[in-house]
């Protein structure tokens, strides 16, 4: 009898003793504005829905590799123009409707329509034809071979949505993924539950809660109080050591696709002068910035490319701090006395801290920077849209975004025909070895021209309970895919 009581009591008070934990609470710093990854650029949307609620034809894994998704396999024609996708059968959307080739056609047509609000419409621009062969076979024909098409349709912007539910995805997302949307307490949390009918098999977790904690200190206390099981990207690198010394947590410093750069207005004087930009490159000490601003937790970069990508070339040695050289270059450019310029900083802490160090380093060669702190909306308006700036610091978090340098109207104002030619060649490339070579050439070109100051790759600071398995180490794209995440039994 007493035994029975003890068992009952222990079940009531310690339900975890009986089964491995199947609920998870994940902390995120930013709340998504809405839940439709195909409308708006917020990577905060992907952090909740990518691979959890929505799936694409292919998916990108934590190493940035392309894996099969709703398309189980695909054939690419010899000329690289046509893709035939063989789709998974028996897949249902969360509202019970069936998934088939017509949903793919609908999703892609919706994304490339005239009134589409898709932030990456360019993904769909090359599509000239979409032919549905049968319910589970679809052919997509492009204008010409595109080396990046398959990767691009793995992004959150290209997930497959249902015709019946697409319009409401902003607040009631309906996808094919392993988790279903349950509710959203705005400003506080989003809850998902496991999709019993998931075509890809059962998942470990039953309930998922994303909790939004803006304040870094509150993130710390919430972890310590046990409210949060995982912070996939902990907002304060200076606090990481507090978790490192705690035996209940794992701290995994991985990489994001975020190149943090000193963006330079190449159209405005004196930055239109390559000598000035090179002088600045020689004045910058990356390690000092990484140590000071990121507490050592970041990887230096020498160009605009993710260091964990197979096509990466290490160009950090191209310019290393050399003040004599920097001063000589400035003198050659006619700025022996230095000059004054503005440095407009957006709100993230990495930008503000890096900004102060940059101002300190450039002051050594006589460049006097006036720091202006701005909020995002202001920054987007002044810097990004109206290009009314000299220098700024920002992390470009989109994967493989070196292509932005080919747009002369982008806010860098870098208009270089040779570079544009390289990107155009990449676009047309149908050969892996050649694509790799071209990407490397592109990295060298912008580094050599010192278009921007290349500082460091933003780290991903994962902090989670030791027995939590399967969390993404890196952020090749912003996503917290939970399909293979589970809690190991407590020892």
């Amino acid at each position: 009898m007493i035994r029975l009581i003890i068992i009952i009591l222990s079940v009531i008070f310690y339900p975890n003793l009986l089964s491995a934990q199947n609920k998870i609470t994940i902390g995120l710093q930013m709340e998504p504005p809405n839940l439709d990854p195909t409308a708006g650029a917020a990577s905060d949307i992907d952090e909740v829905v990518y691979g959890n609620i929505f799936e694409g034809l292919v998916r990108i894994d934590q190493y940035g590799k392309i894996q099969s998704g709703l398309a189980l396999s695909w054939d690419i024609s010899k000329d690289g123009r046509s893709y035939v996708f063989h789709l998974a059968e028996g897949v249902k959307f969360h509202d019970g409707t069936d998934f088939d080739a017509y949903d793919v056609k609908f999703s892609f047509n919706r994304a490339r329509a005239k009134n589409s609000t898709n932030a990456k419409k360019y993904i769909f621009k090359p599509i000239v034809m979409i032919d549905v062969f049968d319910s589970f076979t679809i052919m997509i024909t492009l204008d010409h071979a595109r080396s990046d098409f398959l990767f691009n349709i793995g992004l959150g912007d290209a997930v497959i949505v249902g015709e019946e539910s697409a319009a409401n995805n902003v607040y009631n997302p309906v996808g094919t993924g392993p988790f279903k949307f349950k509710r959203w307490i705005r400003g506080e949390r989003i809850e998902l539950i496991a999709n019993d009918q998931y075509w890809g098999g059962a998942v470990w977790l039953e309930r998922v809660t994303f909790k939004f904690i803006t304040d870094p200190l509150s993130a710390y206390t919430a972890m310590m109080a046990g409210d949060i099981d995982a912070f996939p990207n902990y907002p304060a690198p200076e606090n990481l050591f507090l978790f490192e010394i705690d035996p209940t947590f794992d701290v995994i410093v991985g990489l994001t696709a975020g190149e943090t750069i000193l963006s330079t207005n190449n159209k405005s004087a004196p930055f239109d002068n390559i000598l000035v930009r090179r002088a600045m490159a020689y004045a910058i000490n990356r390690q000092e910035i990484i140590d000071g601003a990121m507490f050592g937790n970041a990887v230096p970069i020498g160009s605009h490319f993710a260091p964990d990508h197979p096509y990466y070339v290490d160009l950090t040695a191209l310019y290393t701090q050399n003040l004599t050289k920097a001063r000589a270059l400035l003198k050659e450019a006619g700025y022996e006395q230095g000059f004054t310029a503005s440095l407009k900083l957006p709100p993230p802490i990495y930008a503000r801290r890096t900004g102060e160090l940059i101002a300190y380093q450039l002051a050594k060669i006589g460049i006097d920077l006036k720091i202006e702190n701005m909020e995002w909306a202001q920054w987007i308006d002044q810097v990004l849209r109206h290009k009314n700036y000299d220098l700024t610091i920002v992390s470009h978090v989109e994967p493989m975004d070196i292509v932005i340098y080919a747009n002369p109207n982008y806010y860098f104002g870098y208009d270089n025909k040779d570079f544009q030619k390289i990107i155009d060649d990449i676009d047309h490339s149908n050969d892996k070895a050649q694509t790799e070579k071209l990407y490397q050439e592109a990295q060298r070109k912008i580094a050599d021209d010192a278009v921007n100051g290349y500082l460091f790759q933003l780290g991903k600071y994962g902090v989670w309970k030791k027995n939590l398995m399967g969390m993404w180490r890196n952020y090749p794209i912003r996503a917290n895919v939970l399909r293979d995440v589970y809690f190991a039994e407590a020892q």
């Binding site: 009134n115 609000t117 607040y171 307490i185 705005r186 909790k211 939004f212 200190l217 909020e375 909306a377």
Partner: protein, 317 residues
Amino acid sequence: MGAYLFKRTLSLIITLIVASIVIFIMIEVVPGDPAAFMMGLSDNTEAANAVRTELGLDASAWQRYFTWIFGMTSGDFGISYTYRIPVSELIGQRLLVSVPLTLYSLILSTMIAIPVGIIAASRRGSFVDTVLMGLAQVGVAVPNFWFAIILVLFFSTSLGWFSAGGFLGWDAGFFQGLKALTLPAISLALPQAAILSRIMRSSILDVMDEDYIRTARAKGLSKNQALIDHGLRNAMIPVLTILGLQFSFLLAGGIIIESIFSLPGLGRLVFQSIAQRDLIVVKSIVTLLVFAVVMITFFVDMCYALVDPRLREGAQK
């Protein structure tokens, strides 16, 4: 009384119209475009234009002003640019957190402040008075976010009695909700209680010098009896005025405490909407707050008129 009421109502309506125009203009001139914000760093003006059309941002300023005002009078506050749900729903959810939190902390602060004020006043100059007022001084000086963090570190991370933040909504149970609001309410109440107890004390001391208290004492009442029977009600008037001010302040002013405890309150909504240029939400909340403050003042004015006959007569002349 009728004429007074009419006059007050008229000035109430004029105030609201003027406020709505000022708010609208101020928000119009704020730099930054909600559609561009949504597109982030992506290089895509076409999609930003599509968003602008979708949100109705390409209409003229006049058109937008009148749609907003007429919508609001019929309870339609429009659709939030970022969340894409009705603004009224969004604000309603936040009020369910902010109003109870405000009331909770005001109740706590009155429960502390009134006894403290009375004790300190009745033992004016004593050791107890010095200690209590010293503590009140500290309470005013201590920043409430620091106090909040100390509370979290102690009660959540060390003792594990409370969760470190968050609010599950009232459907998770009344006491669950109350529990989630307890630490934030205490942090908000501390400085308010400190201010209030100082006011309570000085207000009682003022009242105790009045003639009617002397009369009551002369009648044979003890000092405490005179205070409780005659003094307290009069001493409460300035305290109530301060409480009214604190209410409107706390309603949207608890933003730091809200972020420390990750509470989905009104203050954070305003702040976030400003940052994301969800201007329709900003406009609506600010107008709502103006409306609330004006209504409270209106209500207080009515009460004054009820107790003070001179006001009514003056209006009738």
